[in-house]
């Protein structure tokens, strides 16, 4: 055998010469093209984590609540009373650039399958989105398509999209980020795994037919874009949310009835990775016949069938003896289900086309012994951080101009345009809606509530990957804590450029370390996640964007803190690390066109203390929110209602700019009833937390004063109008 034009074939498969040699060594012969295809997808960055694995080991994955850490389709965390939460994030960045609607839609579909394949009913979705500036038509088109895609798919399957983030920065113009989080709930003893158990058990294929969609998708997701993009374009997958909805119901019913032995969705690298991972996790082999796979098109080759990334497909091993019951359930839901093979004890992945063996590969060579690289890295902090003096950035613009500019900026402006396109209420569990900080959902039949958030801040991480990522974790921790919740577990999505560049690898390594150290400090286990490398177009990388997804729990409705102002006359306080700074701030980026400064060390001790204080003093707190990007001014936006605004008095020690727009880790804003002032301050002193009373809740207006002089005033109505119009005015021409 052997290939005539090996170099070209390897290039097309994103394999190196030495990787090829390794394949030959493993097989003891040259691979055929089908086998080469299998290796290429299984050894792609996307499936094998070859550049990231050695670093991901540094993340904490254990904890008293952890039922299942990384290594399965999603992490599983015990939330008490016999229930578990199953959650994870996935990226769909490249597909969303090529075809925004379908790319985002299939992103939702994929992460949903990761959750229900574990036996959990998906109850919440969140999306973390990043695009280039809305001033450019291309970005508007991508943004519009992505939001419509998430809406089209998520709404249809009946899973509420309860939160997320939407940011705009030109480093994402040709490489938008679409990260989707999903959380499901089930009973602890009803969790399913993708682990083959019984030799001889029958393997079934269920769901949509296999087409030539996204062949090379797995390798494509790991390859940098260049101008030959055009040619890769036909590889777009189209989502079928109706089929997904039927799959959810059929799979959950089959699992509930005990007819499923193990189950795995066909995600990246489709039938190949699902079969291989199923066998691998159970320490078994698997044999499938591709001629039995339902096909949408004629003349598909084994290579194409194995590598297709058609959506809405599941691989199911039946509980021996219950095969017919399994089929009946799928038939009831009008879904195709066919037997395509069986579990073996050979330790091999064997693919037949009828009688003929078309591929035969040891399972472990595709998984645990896939290549691992310790790629060279650079610490870029020294070249990017540079001391700044906060006083150099004040006085140039009027406060009114800055405020109006902030309200009118799509990064700060209210995100109704996005989340009102999402059904965020279906399943009737959403207690805190999008637009008010972290989402809170109830778990029917219990007195428990889950709080969840996804957070990133590429500007911080760009300046200092380690401190910046720590700060993101701290922010998430407070995001959850301001709802009164206790964090129980996290997932992440690490979006970076080309890891073969030492600078990018450095961003990645230090970001992971920052995430690991901060998570350890807060005792938050990271139960899974996703790495997306090669987010570059024509050599230009995105800003490094680790996204942290954090889940917390609140016991009892009375222990939930919400962020909206409740009554006129309530007092407003700052609590925690009261040291605003312009380094890496949105203010500096927007008004001085620069991302610079030195990120201060994240005061993890203070952050934790603030979190504990909030949870232990829920009864004293009427509303709370953390301070993050955009500073105090932006944090206060979450408190405003159509009735209540605020009156602020800026302490003399700060310039108004620094006070309003400076950013810091470890600070929250709280409103309390004036009756509780004494008790509240006493508690804060007991915690030895810094605090400052900064104003009060008022009706119908926004007013800011300094040294008894009004520096900003607006009617609530026009303030809100500006705030809510930032995105629509750019999108609804």
């Amino acid at each position: 055998m052997g290939f005539e034009n090996l170099d070209k074939i390897l290039e097309e498969h994103n394999l190196t010469k030495s990787e090829y040699e390794r394949i030959v060594e493993i097989l003891g012969r040259e691979p055929n093209i089908t086998e080469l295809g299998v290796f290429s997808v299984m050894w792609s960055e996307h499936c094998s984590y070859k550049s990231s694995r050695i670093h991901l080991k540094k993340l904490p994955t254990k904890g008293k609540r952890v039922v299942q850490g990384p290594g399965e389709n999603a992490g599983v965390v015990d939330i008490g009373d016999g229930y578990v939460a199953v959650f994870k994030i996935e990226s769909h960045n490249h597909p969303s650039f090529i075809e925004p609607y379908q790319g985002a839609a299939t992103g939702v579909g994929g992460i949903l399958r990761d959750i229900f394949t574990m036996g959990a009913r998906p109850v919440a979705v969140m999306d973390s989105l990043r695009f280039g500036s809305l001033e450019k038509p291309l970005n508007r088109q991508i943004f519009k398509g992505v939001v419509a895609g998430i809406s089209g798919y998520g709404n249809s399957v009946g899973v509420p999209t309860v939160g997320g983030e939407t940011c705009f920065d030109d480093s994402f113009t040709y490489n938008p980020l679409v990260n989707v989080f999903c959380l499901g709930i089930t009973k602890k003893d009803k969790v399913f795994y993708a682990r083959a158990k019984h030799v001889g058990a029958k393997v079934f294929y269920a769901g949509a037919k296999t087409g030539r969609d996204g062949i090379h998708g797995a390798t494509m997701a790991s390859a940098e874009f260049d101008d030959s993009l055009e040619e890769k374009r036909p590889n777009v997958q189209v989502g079928d949310p109706f089929k997904e909805k039927l799959l959810i119901e059929a799979c959950l019913e089959a699992m509930d009835k005990g007819v499923v032995s193990s189950i795995q969705d066909m995600g990246a690298a489709g039938l190949t990775s699902s079969s291989v991972e199923m066998a691998d996790r159970g320490g078994k082999g698997i044999e499938i016949d591709v001629s039995k796979v339902p096909q949408r098109e004629e003349g598909m080759t084994p290579y194409e069938i194995l590598l297709s990334e058609s959506q809405e497909r599941m691989l199911i091993v039946a509980e021996p003896g219950r095969e017919n019951e399994l089929k009946k359930i799928f038939n009831k839901w009008d879904l195709d289900i066919v037997e395509i093979g069986q579990i073996t004890d050979s330790g091999k992945f064997v693919v037949r086309e009828k009688e003929k063996i078309v591929a035969e590969i040891p399972v472990s060579s595709l998984t645990s012994s896939a290549p691992k690289y310790d790629r060279p890295y650079l610490n870029i902090v020294k070249s990017r951080e540079k001391e700044i003096d906060n006083n150099d950035y004040i006085g140039k613009f009027s406060i009114e101009k800055i405020i109006n500019g902030f309200l009118d900026d799509p990064n700060i402006g209210k995100k109704n345009w996005v989340f009102e396109q999402y059904d965020h209420m279906v399943q009737t569990n959403t207690v805190v809606y999008p637009g008010r900080g972290a989402a809170v959902i109830r778990i029917k039949g219990t007195d428990k509530f889950l709080t969840m958030t996804v957070d990133g801040n590429p500007d911080y991480v760009y300046l200092n990957p380690y401190e910046g990522t720590k700060r993101i974790v701290a922010e998430s921790y407070l995001n959850i804590s301001v709802t009164g919740a206790e964090p129980v577990g996290a997932t992440n999505c690490l979006n970076f450029g080309n890891p073969e560049k030492p600078e990018i690898m450095g961003e990645f390594k230090y970001a992971v370390e920052g995430m690991g150290d901060a998570s350890k400090f807060f005792e938050i286990p990271i139960t899974g996640g996703n790495v997306s490398f090669y987010n570059e177009t024509n050599g230009a990388a995105i800003k490094p964007t680790p996204v942290y997804g954090l889940v917390g729990i609140v016991e009892g409705e009375d222990n939930i803190i919400t962020s909206n102002f409740k009554d006129e006359g309530d007092l407003i306080y700052l609590v925690g690390n009261l040291k605003p700074d312009f380094s890496g701030s949105f203010y500096l980026k927007k008004y001085y066109k620069r991302v610079e400064g030195v990120l201060k060390k994240t005061p993890l001790e203070i952050v934790k203390k603030v979190g504990t204080f909030l949870r232990e003093n829920v009864k004293l707190i009427k509303a709370a929110n953390d301070v993050s990007q955009g500073g105090v001014f932006v944090s206060l936006l979450d408190f405003i209602t159509d009735r209540f605004g605020y009156f602020l008095q800026i302490p003399e020690v700060f310039s108004p700019e620094l006070f309003l727009f400076g950013e810091t880790a470890g600070m929250v804003i709280v409103s309390i009833s004036s009756e509780n002032q004494y008790n509240f301050e006493k508690k804060l002193r007991e915690f030895s937390l810094d605090f400052r009373k900064i104003g009060a809740v008022v009706s119908e207006s926004i007013k800011i004063e300094m040294l008894n002089k009004i520096i900003y005033v607006s009617s609530l109505k026009s303030f809100i109008k500006r705030y809510e119009n930032a995105i629509p005015k750019r999108m609804e021409v």
Binding site: G211, D240, F242
Partner: protein, 80 residues
């Protein structure tokens, strides 16, 4: 001038809508129907007297706005 622009999914692209309609028609007893693909059609009116120019303009619009060349193809027809 009046024109009709038909946009359809490329044959290799999955058409969940068409498939679902086909399946339902078969279920309802219309078993002779063997395939359904759904597309879009745009009836356009424009101020232009030259057919040549109209066609060029409509093609541009069909390509840039009305279809997504990644997954769809289009056809332009002048109808009056």
């Amino acid at each position: 001038m009046k024109a009709k622009i038909t946009v359809k999914l490329k044959d290799i692209v999955l058409d969940p809508q068409g498939n679902t309609i086909l399946h339902s028609l078969n279920e309802m007893g219309y078993e002779k129907i063997t395939k359904v693909r759904q597309g879009k059609v745009f009836f356009v009116e424009l101020e232009e007297t030259s057919k040549e120019k109209a066609r060029a303009l409509l093609k541009e619009i069909a390509h840039k706005v009305l279809s997504n060349p990644v997954i769809e193809t289009y056809e332009v027809e002048i109808i009056g």
